[in-house]
C-alpha cells in the first residue's frame, strides 16, 4: 500500500481509502527515509511519528533509503513474513560481519537533540540478486528467487536533521570502533610482508572521546579505542603461535582501525557533521568553553582541531588450530 500527501499525516488519509483497517502504528518496526527527504531535513516528518502515541520510537529502526523505499519494501522476504519483519530481524540478530550501525529512532533523536552531536543512520539499498534466474515457473515449483535483494551497508551522516554525507563500509567500521559499538564485526587486514589477508572476529570493543582543552584555549581531542579479537582466517604461513608475531599482527590491526577512524573523521570534518560527538565531549568537560565555541564549532573548530586516534587491543585467541594449513610440498 502506498499513500501520499503534503504531510506524512495526510498521506495516511490516502491509505484509509485503500484499506478498511486503521494503521496500527505501534507495530511500526522500520522507518525508511528517502535520501531526497533526508537531505531536506527529517524533523518535519519525524514530528508526526513521535507525536503519535502509538509509535514506539524505541523499537523502530531508522534507515536512509538510497533507492526507492517502495521498491525496497517490495523485495520478497524469504524467511520472514514481510519485508519489514525481515529488516527488523536482521537488525536484531547482531550477526557477525555487518557493515552498518544499528540505530533505533530513539537513539537517532537523542543524538539529534544532544549538544554537540549529530545523528547517523544505516543505509539501505537495492542489490541485484545473483541467484535470480528467468525461468518459467510451474505451479508446483518452489517460489523463485527474487530479482532484487536488499543491502544494508554503510552510514548516512546528518548535520542537524539534514543528511550531508555517507560513510562507506570501512569508514562505518571506523565509526563503530570509535563508539565502542563494533561488537559483532569481522575485519580483514593485510600482512604486508607476506601480502596475505587476515580476518579477525570482534569480541569486545570500547571507544571514548576525550577532549584536550589547553590552558591557552586551544581545543584538541583524542579518540581512544580498545578492542579484543580472535583469529578467524589466515591465508599464509604465519606462525601465530609466536607471541611476537601476534604482537605484530595486533599492531597492524590497530593501524588499520586507526586509518578507518581517520577516514571517517575526514568525512566529519568535510561535512561539518559531528557524528563522533566531539562537541558533546567538549560540552561535558568544559561547559563554559563550549558556550563560546558552539556557534562556530562545526565550521571552524571541527575541521581544524587536532584529533589523535589511539587504538590498543589484543588478539586473544587463534581458534582451534595454531599454524595455518600448509602442504609440505606444493
Amino acid at each position: 500500500m502506498v499513500g501520499s500527501g503534503r504531510t506524512l499525516a495526510e498521506a495516511r488519509n490516502e491509505i484509509a481509502s485503500i484499506t478498511p483497517r486503521r494503521l496500527f502504528l505501534a507495530h511500526t518496526r522500520v522507518l525508511l527515509l528517502d535520501e531526497a527527504l533526508t537531505r531536506d531535513g527529517v524533523s518535519k516528518v519525524l514530528d508526526h511519528l513521535i507525536r503519535n502515541r502509538e509509535v514506539r520510537r524505541e523499537i523502530v529502526w531508522i534507515f536512509v533509503a538510497v533507492d526507492d523505499p517502495i521498491v525496497i519494501l517490495d523485495v520478497p522476504a524469504p524467511i520472514a513474513i514481510c519485508s519489514a519483519d525481515r529488516i527488523d530481524q536482521i537488525m536484531r540478530a547482531r550477526l557477525p560481519g555487518q557493515y552498518f550501525p544499528r540505530v533505533r529512532l530513539t537513539e537517532f533523536l537523542r543524538e539529534m537533540e544532544a549538544e554537540g552531536a549529530d545523528p547517523f543512520a544505516p543505509l539501505i539499498a537495492l542489490a541485484s540478486n545473483e541467484a535470480f534466474q528467468q525461468v518459467t515457473r510451474l505451479p508446483q515449483d518452489p517460489s523463485p528467487e527474487p530479482l532484487h535483494n536488499i543491502k544494508i551497508e554503510g552510514t548516512g551522516v546528518f548535520r542537524g536533521d539534514r543528511l550531508v554525507g555517507f560513510l562507506n563500509r570501512s569508514q562505518t567500521q571506523g565509526l563503530l570502533f570509535a563508539r565502542g559499538e563494533a561488537l559483532q564485526g569481522r575485519f580483514v587486514f593485510v600482512e604486508p610482508e607476506m601480502d596475505c589477508l587476515i580476518t579477525v572476529g570482534q569480541l569486545r570493543n570500547r571507544g571514548s572521546v576525550i577532549p584536550r582543552l589547553g590552558e591557552d584555549g586551544r581545543i584538541a581531542a583524542e579518540i581512544r579505542v580498545e578492542f579484543e579479537v580472535f583469529l578467524e582466517q589466515i591465508e599464509c604461513n604465519l606462525d601465530v603461535g609466536q607471541p611476537d608475531v601476534m604482537q605484530r599482527l595486533e599492531e597492524l590491526l590497530a593501524n588499520q582501525i586507526r586509518e578507518q577512524i581517520y577516514s571517517a573523521l575526514a568525512v566529519s570534518r568535510r561535512t561539518g557533521s559531528d557524528f563522533f560527538g566531539l562537541g558533546s565531549a567538549v560540552h561535558r568537560a568544559d561547559p563554559a568553553r563550549w558556550k563560546e565555541v558552539r556557534e562556530r564549532w562545526r565550521d571552524e573548530f571541527l575541521p581544524t582541531i587536532d584529533i589523535d586516534v589511539i587504538v590498543e587491543g589484543r588478539i586473544r585467541d587463534t581458534g582451534t588450530i595454531v599454524k595455518p594449513l600448509e602442504p609440505p610440498l606444493r
Binding site: I50, R53, R56, E58, I59, R92, T106, L109, R110, E113, A114, E115, S280, H283, R284, A285, D286, P287, A288, W290
Partner: protein
C-alpha cells in the same frame, strides 16, 4: 464532627506517599530537565531538603494538638477569625489539588492511551471510585492504600532493575554547566509537591501511635524522594536530558522501552505500569478528597462529612473539566502556577502556624 476511624503510623506513612508520589513521577523528569538539563537529578535533592523540613514542622505542629486537626486547632492558636480563615485556606488547598489531580489523570489517559475519549469519562470514573472509598471512611482508604502503594513502590524498584543496564553516565555531564541557578529554579515544583506532606496535620488525631507521627512523615518524604531519584536518574540516563524535556510524560516513555533480548514476550510493560499508576492515582485523589471533605465538615462543625461528598464531587468534576481548555493550557498551569500556589500555602501557612505556636508555647501549655 467525628471520624470514627483509627489508623497506624505505617498507614499514615503510606497515605503521605500516596499523596505525593503518583503525580510527581509523571512530570518531574521533563519538568526539571527543561531547565536544569543534565543536572535535573539535583533538583529533587534540593527539594528533598526543604520537604524534610516542612514534613518535620507539620508533624511536630500537629502533635502540639494531638486530638485536633489543623482546621480545629488553628482557631485556638490564632483566635476565631484568623483561625477560620487559615482553615479555609487549607480547605482551598486540599480541594485545589483534588481538582488538578482529577484533570491530570484524565490528561494522561487521553494523551497516552485513549486518544478519542473525552476527559469527562476518566474524571467521572476516577471520581466515582474516590467518592465510594471516601464514603467508606479513613480506615478503608488507608487499608486499600497500603496494598496499592506497596505494589506501586515495587513497580518503581522494578523500573530501576530494568533500566539500570542501559543508563548512560555521560548523560549527567557536564556537572552544573549553567551554574546552580537552573537547578534551584527547577527544584520549585518538586519542593511544592514534597510539601504536600503537611496533610499529616489532618491525620494526627486519628493516629493510634501518635508518637511516631514525625517519624512516619519523614519516612514518607524519604521514600518519595528515593522513588523520584530512581525515576529521574533512569529517565535522564536513558533518554538524555534534551529528549526528556520534549516529552510530557517522560517516565512512561522509558517504561515503554523495556526490552530484553531473548525475552521477546516481555516487552511493552507500560500497560502494567499504567494499571498500578491508575490505582495510585485513585488513592491520591481519594486522599485529598477525603481530607478536603473532612476539613470542610469540621470547619462548619458538621456531625458527619458524608452528606457533602457527592455534591462536592459533582462540583469538582465539572470544575476540573471546565477550568482548562486544552492540555497545553493545563500543562502550563500545572508546571508554573500550581507549584507556586500549593507551595506557598504549604510552606507559608504551615510555617506561620508553627511560628505562632512557638511564640505562644507557654500560654498554650498553661491552658493545657
Amino acid at each position: 464532627m467525628r471520624e470514627e476511624g483509627r489508623i497506624s503510623s505505617y498507614q499514615a506513612m503510606n497515605f503521605i506517599i500516596a499523596i505525593i508520589l503518583p503525580t510527581a513521577i509523571l512530570v518531574l523528569p521533563s519538568l526539571t530537565a527543561e531547565r536544569a538539563a543534565e543536572n535535573a537529578w539535583l533538583s529533587p535533592v534540593i527539594a528533598f531538603v526543604l520537604g524534610l523540613g516542612i514534613a518535620y514542622v507539620a508533624a511536630s505542629l500537629a502533635l502540639r494538638f494531638p486530638d485536633k486537626t489543623v482546621i480545629q486547632f488553628a482557631p485556638s492558636l490564632l483566635g476565631p477569625v484568623l483561625g477560620k480563615i487559615v482553615g479555609l485556606v487549607f480547605i482551598g488547598y486540599f480541594f485545589f489539588i483534588t481538582i488538578v489531580v482529577q484533570r491530570e489523570f484524565a490528561e494522561l489517559m487521553t494523551n497516552l492511551f485513549y486518544d478519542r475519549t473525552p476527559n469527562i469519562v476518566f474524571v467521572g470514573l476516577l471520581t466515582g471510585l474516590a467518592v465510594y472509598v471516601v464514603y467508606k471512611g479513613l480506615e478503608v482508604l488507608a487499608r486499600v492504600n497500603d496494598i496499592i502503594i506497596l505494589l506501586f513502590l515495587f513497580s518503581i524498584l522494578f523500573f530501576l532493575v530494568v533500566v539500570i543496564k542501559d543508563l548512560r553516565p555521560q548523560a549527567f555531564l557536564p556537572f552544573l554547566g549553567e551554574g546552580i541557578g537552573p537547578v534551584v529554579f527547577s527544584a520549585i515544583p518538586p519542593a511544592a509537591w514534597f510539601a504536600e506532606a503537611v496533610v499529616i496535620m489532618m491525620l494526627v488525631p486519628f493516629l493510634q501511635d501518635k508518637g511516631k507521627a514525625i517519624k512516619a512523615n519523614i519516612a514518607a518524604v524519604t521514600i518519595v524522594f528515593l522513588s523520584l531519584m530512581i525515576i529521574t536518574v533512569g529517565t535522564i540516563g536513558i533518554l538524555g536530558s534534551s529528549e526528556t524535556a520534549t516529552f510530557h510524560f517522560a517516565s512512561f516513555a522509558v517504561v515503554r522501552r523495556i526490552e530484553f533480548a531473548g525475552l521477546e514476550f516481555f516487552q511493552r510493560q507500560d500497560a502494567l505500569f499504567m494499571a498500578l499508576w491508575v490505582g495510585a492515582m485513585l488513592m491520591k485523589l481519594g486522599a485529598f478528597f477525603y481530607v478536603g471533605v473532612l476539613a470542610l465538615s469540621q470547619w462548619f462543625n458538621l456531625r458527619s462529612y458524608r452528606p457533602i461528598i457527592v455534591p462536592l464531587a459533582t462540583f469538582f468534576t465539572v470544575l476540573s473539566v471546565q477550568s482548562w481548555d486544552s492540555f497545553s493550557e493545563f500543562a502550563l498551569f500545572t508546571g508554573q502556577t500550581v507549584p507556586l500556589v500549593i507551595g506557598s500555602v504549604a510552606y507559608g501557612v504551615t510555617l506561620f502556624l508553627f511560628v505562632v505556636a512557638m511564640l505562644r508555647r507557654k500560654e498554650l501549655d498553661g491552658k493545657a
